[in-house]
């Protein structure tokens, strides 16, 4: 699904489907790219509503994380994805498909720190924070 959606975006308007870049571009203010970015985000939310309607168990809140931890996580993700120019979709899926060296390095970096962080929460906080 993600791969095909990325292909469709590439085929139709020639863009890379990186969610953090699409959202970040929207936040940057008005420019010519606002329409497709907005439509893409609306599509994500609409997808969310259809999951809620047809497969509600597929959306789950993290049981082992406090809202404070999740809030801090959001800040890290927001700053980190703009600094590193991508997230799991842009670097992980689209970038690796294009055999981009930058994306390979970025993916290795966020995989390493992602595993390290969740494992550290397990080791030092008993799996919940």
């Amino acid at each position: 699904m993600i791969g095909l959606a990325a292909s469709l975006l590439l085929l139709s308007i020639g863009r890379v489907a990186g969610i953090s870049g699409i959202v970040g571009g929207l936040l940057q203010g008005t420019n010519a790219d606002t329409t497709w970015r907005l439509l893409f985000v609306i599509g994500l939310v609409a997808g969310g509503f259809s999951i809620v309607a047809f497969m509600p168990s597929a959306i789950a809140e993290p049981d082992s994380r406090s809202l404070l931890a999740v809030g801090a996580a959001g800040l890290c993700v927001g700053v980190g994805t703009r600094m590193g120019n991508g997230c799991t979709s842009g670097h992980g899926v689209c970038g690796l498909t294009r055999f981009s060296k930058r994306s390979l390095v970025a993916t290795l970096s966020f995989m390493a720190t992602g595993f390290a962080t969740a494992t550290a929460v397990q080791l030092f906080f008993g799996g919940a924070l």
Partner: protein, 122 residues
């Protein structure tokens, strides 16, 4: 991916490890890989004048540190940007909190970054 517990369990091999998320990512790459090369061989996309693909090739500290910081947030909260936005449609407090602070983080960084660029070019 919209199940934050599944993401956290994927990233934590010392807990109740659930490696299934790796298949989602590999599956997405395979699906995209199958169509990608045929698409970019076209002279242009269907509804735009030209393909607009990333051209940066240099690997710098900013890329590694930024991606690393993103990973810390991913392992800490169990959300990455796409699934976070999708999950927010469920109006769960964690998903809404995540998207709120993620947007704040993006705005803060983009402001600071633009400031740096302006200062650098002056």
């Amino acid at each position: 991916m919209t199940d934050a517990n599944k993401v956290i369990n994927f990233l934590n091999p010392l807990g109740e490890w659930d490696p299934s998320l790796a298949f989602v990512m590999v599956g997405a790459i395979c699906a995209h890989l199958a169509t990608h090369r045929f698409i970019i061989k076209r002279p242009s996309p269907l509804f735009a004048a030209a393909f607009s693909l990333p051209t940066a090739a240099h690997i710098d500290r900013r890329l590694v540190i930024g991606a690393g910081l993103f990973g810390v947030g991913w392992g800490l909260g169990g959300f990455c940007p796409g699934p976070g936005v999708v999950s927010a449609a469920g109006f769960g407090p964690a998903a809404l909190t995540f998207v709120g602070t993620m947007v704040a983080g993006m705005v803060i960084f983009q402001r600071l970054d633009r400031g740096d660029e302006a200062a650098g070019s002056a």
